[in-house]
């Protein structure tokens, strides 16, 4: 097991190096740079001086070597968008996305698996068909539309929840601890619901497919012959086997979740990594964009690694060998 982790870590480093390089060149080839300001009134020569100050006028390869050198030494550069070093920018922005994604992942897996099992157990009943239909419908919706509908319904037509942001921009600091906590939760409800709906639909579909895959196996028939009741047949025997593919799905769910988070953050003005990345790309904030893409990639790589390890532990056929 330890050797597996070591090999995978080496692969992770190689992957991150590739990702940084791809992201770097991708961005630098694009037209415009951090100093082509939106306001056309800034004379050209003023821009050139600013570019020189950050070394963006040097040949591309030289910039690349310099950038990779500084990344290796841990300095990710200065963010033009947020006007702070990138490490500090990511430090404030990343936890906000992780909070949203982490909660969404946990809730969606719990709900998704339960929904998948429910749909298989009561496959004749109308309710189960309905829930299968609904999860299929949600799965077919564009993420942003779902988020937009939630926002319009609960923040505008029925204004019971705040329309965006992480906290009440004005009143938060002047609230008591209890009130402040409730304010934070109130702002979390809508974006979290949007993300959970999207991911749960995905997981329920996969869990249902995985269960249907396992049910015709011989050992399920043996269990039935032993007199085990339907709830345990599906809930214990079949599910335990059908959970294995779900672990690999968890690894793959990370990029999907990150993608979904980008849309949800944009709709709910949740200043997490997704929203910041879109704005950073808009202003060609090279250091922040490359760093965000790399962090996104790192999250995926770690996600996959954890999923593989968890799979090894969960499946006796792999663990015991």
């Amino acid at each position: 097991m330890r050797r597996l982790v070591a090999v995978r870590l080496f692969h992770a480093v190689v992957v991150l190096f590739l990702v940084t390089t791809i992201a770097f060149f991708l961005l630098h080839f694009a037209p415009g740079d951090p100093f082509s300001f939106e306001n056309p009134n800034i004379p050209g020569d003023v821009r050139d001086r600013m570019r020189a100050e950050f070394g963006y006028d040097r040949p591309l390869m030289e910039q690349y070597v310099r950038y990779m050198g500084s990344v290796a030494s841990g300095n990710l550069g200065f963010s033009h968008l947020l006007r702070v070093p990138v490490t500090q920018a990511l430090g404030t922005v990343l936890p906000r996305t992780l909070l949203l994604m982490g909660l969404a992942l946990v809730i969606s897996f719990a709900l998704g698996i339960r929904l998948g099992v429910y749909e298989v157990r009561h496959w004749q009943k109308r309710r189960a068909r309905a829930s299968n239909g609904i999860s299929l419908f949600i799965y077919s919706l564009p993420d942003f539309w779902l988020a937009l509908m939630l926002l319009l319904t609960f923040a505008y037509w029925l204004p019971i929840l705040p329309g965006g942001g992480m906290v009440d921009v004005v009143m938060h600091e002047y609230m008591g601890p209890g009130q402040a906590a409730w304010d934070r939760i109130k702002h979390l409800i809508l974006p979290l619901t949007a993300l959970v709906l999207i991911v749960t639909a995905l997981i329920a579909r996969y869990q249902r497919a995985a269960l249907l895959e396992v049910l015709p196996s011989d050992f399920v028939r043996t269990a039935r012959a032993k007199g085990v009741d339907e709830r345990d047949i599906i809930g214990r025997h079949a599910l335990r086997n059908a959970l294995l593919p779900m672990i690999t799905l968890a690894g793959l769910a990370f990029p999907a979740l990150l993608g979904g988070a980008v849309f949800v953050e944009k709709v709910f003005s949740w200043p997490g990594m997704g929203l910041t990345l879109i704005s950073a790309i808009g202003v060609r904030d090279y250091p922040l964009v490359v760093a965000s893409v790399v962090v996104g990639a790192a999250m995926v790589v770690i996600g996959n690694l954890l999923a593989d390890i968890a799979y090894g532990l969960a499946d006796p056929r792999v663990r015991v060998r």
Binding site: V19, L141, W145, R205, L212, P216, P255, L258, V293, A297
Partner: protein
């Protein structure tokens, strides 16, 4: 060889249950309407009838889907939009399928160092969330002509297929008849095409069908961030996105493209699920198959 494969496909389709068959019919009708758009659409997609008088008219007999803010007929634009969305999605998914299959097959057939290298490269590309990659590329180089959009969606979408193909090919490679073929001196190329490819086609078909739905949704998402087909052309996604901005006012400009888009994606997903169940060899001896599939107890 190809004929049996086709017959297997047809058998699989015949076994679909009513819901999936309805989905197939709807998709068929949609494809037809989309391809015939230039013929059946009352107006061209960019024709502005009267930009002051006919702006934002609610659905009426003259314009069943109403007119948008540039006084263009929404029904015609939905037909053209469906055409663009379907073509972009289908071609993109085909590109993904072709690259993915070749990549997966090569990795599986050659194995060894080549396999590891290819797989690590795959991990690298898989670990950049597709959305971020697309946002970065398209935000910087937009406006992107449609063929470029197809290529980009295709190039960033083949990772899943190649992993699936590799896994399937690896399991088939161990099967006796491939070992037998190799023992008779068949080269790697022949093995790949004659033996591995047909067996791998089933999962590719299934993922392709599901893929089309996902690409349509993804393309709609991208237009939300301001990246999409260039005016006056518009995919269902871009029209849907423009409409939602002024949703409260002109609901029809968003509703009709939205409904058509979601129905298309829903049908593709239903079809994909059903095809997966009915074409998968292990389920071939099943009786009735479809989304309402019963968890069957096998019986001899």
């Amino acid at each position: 060889m190809f004929v049996e494969w086709l017959r297997g496909l047809a058998a699989g389709v015949r076994r679909l249950d009513s819901v999936s068959r309805a989905a197939l019919v709807i998709l068929g009708a949609l494809f037809l309407a989309a391809m015939l758009a230039p013929v059946i659409a009352p107006y061209s997609q960019s024709h502005q009838i009267d930009i002051v008088g006919m702006k934002n008219h609610a659905p009426s007999l003259a314009h069943p889907f109403g007119t948008d803010r540039f006084s263009r007929d929404v029904l015609s634009r939905v037909l053209y939009g469906a055409r663009i969305s379907l073509t972009v999605a289908t071609l993109a998914v085909l590109v993904s399928a072709i690259i993915g299959t070749l990549y997966g097959l090569t990795a599986a057939t050659l194995g060894g160092v080549v396999d590891t290298v290819l797989m690590r490269l795959l991990d690298a590309m898989l670990s950049i969330p597709r959305v971020l990659l697309l946002i970065a590329i398209l935000a910087l180089w937009s406006p992107v002509p449609l063929w470029m959009l197809v290529l980009l969606l295709g190039i960033t979408g083949w990772f899943g297929v190649s992993r699936l193909v590799r896994a399937e090919a690896l399991s088939v490679r161990e099967r006796e008849f491939v070992v037998a073929a190799r023992s008779l001196g068949a080269g790697a190329g022949r093995i790949m095409l004659r033996h591995l490819l047909p067996n791998v086609l089933v999962p590719v078909i299934v993922t392709t069908t599901l893929g089309i739905g996902n690409v349509i949704v993804l393309e709609a998402g991208l237009s939300f961030i301001g990246i999409g087909a260039r005016e006056p052309a518009a995919s269902l996604g871009t029209m849907f996105q423009d409409g939602t901005e002024a949703f409260a006012g002109t609901w029809w400009a968003a509703l009709f493209p939205g409904v058509v888009m979601v129905t298309t994606v829903l049908c593709f997903n239903i079809l994909g699920d059903a095809l997966r169940a009915s074409l998968d060899p292990r389920h071939l001896h099943r009786a009735r198959v479809g989304t309402g599939t019963a968890p069957l107890h096998t019986a001899e």
